[in-house]
Symmetry: D2
Subunit: 289 residues, 4 copies
C-alpha cells in the first residue's frame, strides 16, 4: 500500500518509519527537506512539496506541529489543495482545534476529495512502537480504507462520526489528564509538607483503585523536579483552555478543570511552559524558602 | 498465631474470616454479639467485652465504623484500656482522623501497651480476598510482630512512621481520588454535551496513560446513573475536607481539591450524600431539562 | 453640534434622547426603522441607512447589541464603510471584544476616517440620566472632539490609549463585578443556611468597608428571587469568558474569576441566562428541597 | 454609667477611651497592667484581675486578641467566672469562633450571669471614632442594657439572636470581603499585564456600581506593593477557613470563597501571612521575572 506523509517531527518521523518497516511505500515531505534523508535510507521517496505528494499518492497522511502548520500545508502555494480532488484522501493526524479541522475539511471536500481528521493519543514512544490510539472522524469510507495504516500506527482506532469529533475527544481526554496531574501534584506536595514520604505515597497509589501509568511513569521524576518535556505544559494548558471553551459553548460547568487550568497558567507565568506539564507540581510546591 | 478482633461490620467480618481461614486463632467481639456466631462456625472464640479479648490475646485488632466507635471501644467501661498494658499490642485498622488516632495512642502507650494505627485502602471485596493495602504507623516493633496477620489481610503493608501518618496517608490518597472522580465526571458530561459518545470516551481513556481501575469500574454504571454506594459521597466529602484542613495547617494551596470539594458539597446539598461518590456526576450533568 | 446615532435599543434610545434634550442635532438610524419615530418627536432626523447617517454627519456614534451587529453596521451593504473617510469620525460605544473593535478600527482608519471605541460602564438608568462612564480608546483627536457629547452622556470619560484598551478595561471591570456577585451570593446563601437573617447581612454589609451600590441595589430583590434583567447573566458570563481569555493570552492566573465563571455557566445550563446576572444566587441556593 | 473593660490592645484601648470621653466610669484591666496607666489619666480606675473588675461592675466588656485570650480571661484563676453571677452581665466583643463563644456563654449563664457576644466590624480607626458596627447575640435584656455603651462605641449595633450568630455574621462578612479582595487583585494584575494603566482601573471602578471604600482605600497602596497590615492576611485566611467550615456544616457549596481561600493559603506559604490581606495581590502578580 502506498501513502504520502507530510511532516517529519518527532511524531511524524516515528510514524512514517513504522509504515516503512511494515511494508508500506511512503512518499515523505517536510518543511526542512533534509529531515527526509534518514527515511530515504529506509526506502522512502521524497515529495518536493505537499502538492507533489498528494499528486503521487491516493492517500496522504499529515502530522504537523500546530494549527498554523496544518493550515499552511493545505492552503499555501504548492499545498495539498492544489492536487487533492475526487478519488484522493487526506488524513490529518495533527492535534488541532475543531475550527481548524473544520476549515481544512471544507476545503478538501469542496474539491471532491475525502477528508479524515485523526488526532492521536500517545506521544513519542507509542508512536515508535505503533501503540497510538487513533481518534478518527469525517469520511467513513476513507476511515475504512485507512485501516491497514491505522493498524500499523496504533493499537486501536476509533471512528467517532463527523469532523470535529476527533479533536473534541482528544480535548476531553487531555482535560481529564490535566486535572489529574494537578490532583496528583497537590497530593504529592501535601504528603511532603505534612511529614509523609512522597515515595510511600507513590507506592500506595500504585496498589489501589486509581493506579495508572501516568502517576507510575512521571511520579519519581517529579519528586526529583525532573520535568523533561514529553508533553509541554504550554500545550497542555492550551488544551485545557480549548476544552473549557468547548464546555462554554455547551454550558457545561467544569470547576475542577477550570481550577487546574489556572494552576497551569500560573506555571506558564513562572516560565515553566516549555517543561513537561508535570511542572505544575513546582507551582504547588513553591514556598518562600 | 492468636489474635483478638473487635468489630464485625462488613470489613471486620471479611478480615477476621480471612485470618481464620489462614490458620489464625481468632477471638472476636462485636457490639451486637450475635454477629459473632457465623465466625464461631469457622472456629472463632468469642470475647464478651473488648477488655476480655485484650486480656486473652497478646495482639488485638480493631476495625470499627467511625471515630466515635473507635473511641468507645477503648475508653468505655469494659473497654480495651482496662486490660491493655506492657506486653500487649493494639492495632486499630479503622479509618479515623489523626486526632482520634493520637488520643487512642496516648491512652494505650501510657499503660505500657504498644499501639499501631493501620487504616486500610480497599473496601469489601479486597477485604474478602486479602488484597487490602495497609497503612501502618506507630510502634515499629508491633508492626513487625503483626506482619504475619498483615500478610493475610493485605497485598501490601507500609510502615509510615509516627502515629497519625497512616491516617494522613489515607486522606491524601482519598483527596487525589476525589479530585479524579470530579475530573472524570466533568469529562463524561463534556463528552455527552458536545456530541460525543461517552462510551467511546471510556474506551479511549482505558487505552491511554491515565487508564485506571476506578474509571474502568465505575464509568459504565455512572453513565446509567447507577451510583450504588461502595464509598458514600458524604464520607468522600468528609475526607476531602479533612485533607484540605491538613493542607491548611501546612499552608499548602490545593485549588483543584478545593474545587472538587465544593462540587461534592453541592451534591450533598442536593441529597446525594448517601450514594456512591460517583454521584457528583449528577451535579455536573444537571440542566434545566 | 450635530451627530449621527446608530442603534436604538434600550441604551441607544436613552443616549440619543439625552443628546437631543441637551441641544444636539441628532440623525438616527435603527435596523427596525419604526423605532426612530419616538425620537423624531423630540427633534431627531432619520437616516435610512448607516451609510446615509455617516454621509450627513461629521461624527457618528453607534450603540449596538453585540459584535455581530457592530460588524454588520460597518461592513454590510449601505454600511458605515461606504461613506466614512477623511474628515469624519466614527465612535463605537457598543461593548465588543477587542478583536472586533480592532477589525472595525482597521477598516475605518484605512479609509482615512477617525475611529474611537468607547464602551460604557452603566446600564439603562445611568444611560437615561447621563451618568455613564465612558472608556474611550483610539484616535485622540476624535476623543477631544467628542468631549461635548461625552459630557452629556456620561459623568466621566477616560481616554485609555490604543484601540482595544476600552474593551479591555470594560472586561476587567465586569470580571471583578462578576466575581463580586458570586462572593455576595455565596455569603447570602451561607447566612440563610446557617440561621442568620440575610437582611441583617445586607444591613451589616452596607455599613462597612465593602459597602457598594450593587449589593445595596440588588440585594433585597435577590432575596425575593427577583432577577429582572438589568444585565443578563449570559452577557455577564460572556464577559467573564473574554476576560479569562485575556488573562490566558497574558499568562495571568485568576482562580477566583475562573470559579465565578463556572458558577455562571452552571446558571446558564439551568436556564437562567436571560435573567439578571444576580440569578447565580439561585444556583448557589439550590438544594434538593 | 459604670462599666468594666478587659483588654487594652489597639482596639480595647480606643474603645475604653471613647467610653471615658463620653462620660462613662470605666474600670480597666489588662494582662500587662502598665498599659492601664494612660487610661487612668483620663479617669479610669484599675482592676487588679478580671474577677475584681467583674466584682465591682454590673456590666463588663472584654476585647481580647484571640480565642485563647478570651477563654483565659474567663476560666483562669482570678478570672471572670469567679465573680460573675445573677445580676451581672458579661459582653465579649472579641472576634472568636462560634465554639469558643458558646463555651464562654455556657459557663457564664450557668452561674446565673447574662452573656452577650458582640464582635465588631471595623478596625483601629473606627474604634477611635466610635464608628464600629456591633454584631451582638445572646441575652436580649443585656443587649438592651448595653445600648448606651454601644451607641458610644459604634455607629450601629445589631441584635442577631442566639449566641454564635454574632461570630457567624462576622465570618460571612469577612468571607465576602476576602473573595472581593481576590477579585480586585486579579483585576489589577490583569489590567497591568494586558497593557492598561491600573490607576485608570481604580478610577473607573470608583465611578461605578461596585465602588466601595476598600477598593478606594487600599488600591493605590497595593499598586505600590505597600501592604502594611490593617488586617493581617493570616487572620483573613483563618476567617475564610472558618466560613468555609460553616458552609460545610450546612452543605453550602461556595466555589469562589474556596478559590479565594486557596490563594490566601498560597500567600501564607510564600511568607506573606503577617502583611495586610491585600498582599494576596503579590501572589497573583508573581511571574518569573
Amino acid at each position: 500500500m502506498e501513502v504520502g506523509f507530510l511532516g517529519l517531527g518527532i511524531m511524524g518521523k516515528a510514524m512514517s518509519m513504522n509504515l516503512l518497516k511494515n511494508g508500506f511505500k511512503v512518499t515523505v515531505w517536510n518543511r526542512t527537506l533534509s529531515k527526509c534523508n534518514e527515511l530515504v535510507e529506509f526506502g522512502a521517496s521524497i515529495g518536493e512539496t505537499p502538492a507533489q505528494v498528494v499528486k503521487k499518492c491516493r492517500l496522504t497522511i499529515a502530522m504537523l506541529s500546530d494549527p498554523a502548520a496544518a493550515l499552511s500545508v493545505v492552503f499555501d502555494k504548492d499545498g495539498v489543495l492544489e492536487q487533492i480532488g475526487s478519488g484522493k484522501g487526506y488524513i490529518d493526524m495533527s492535534t488541532v482545534d475543531p475550527e481548524t479541522s473544520s476549515k481544512i475539511s471544507q476545503a478538501i471536500t469542496s474539491t471532491g476529495g475525502a477528508f479524515l481528521e485523526a488526532p492521536v493519543s500517545g506521544s513519542k514512544q507509542p508512536a515508535e512502537t505503533g501503540q497510538l490510539v487513533i481518534l478518527a472522524a469525517g469520511d467513513k469510507g476513507l476511515y475504512e480504507e485507512s485501516i491497514p495504516a491505522f493498524d500499523v500506527l496504533g493499537k486501536k482506532s476509533f471512528f467517532l462520526g463527523q469532523v470535529g469529533n476527533g479533536a473534541k475527544m482528544k480535548l476531553v481526554v487531555n482535560m481529564i489528564m490535566g486535572s489529574m496531574m494537578n490532583a496528583f501534584s497537590e497530593g504529592l506536595v501535601l504528603s511532603e509538607r505534612s511529614g509523609l514520604n512522597p515515595h510511600d505515597l507513590l507506592d500506595v497509589l500504585d496498589l489501589g483503585g486509581i493506579a495508572n501509568p501516568m502517576f507510575r511513569g512521571k511520579g519519581p521524576a517529579m519528586l526529583k523536579s525532573n520535568h523533561s518535556p514529553a508533553f509541554p505544559l504550554k500545550h497542555q494548558q492550551k488544551d485545557m483552555r480549548l476544552a473549557l471553551a468547548l464546555g462554554d459553548e455547551n454550558a457545561v460547568s467544569m470547576p475542577v478543570a477550570a481550577a487546574a487550568n489556572e494552576s497551569f497558567k500560573k506555571a506558564r507565568s513562572m516560565g515553566l511552559g516549555d517543561l513537561d506539564f508535570s511542572a505544575v507540581y513546582e507551582i504547588l510546591k513553591m514556598t518562600k524558602d
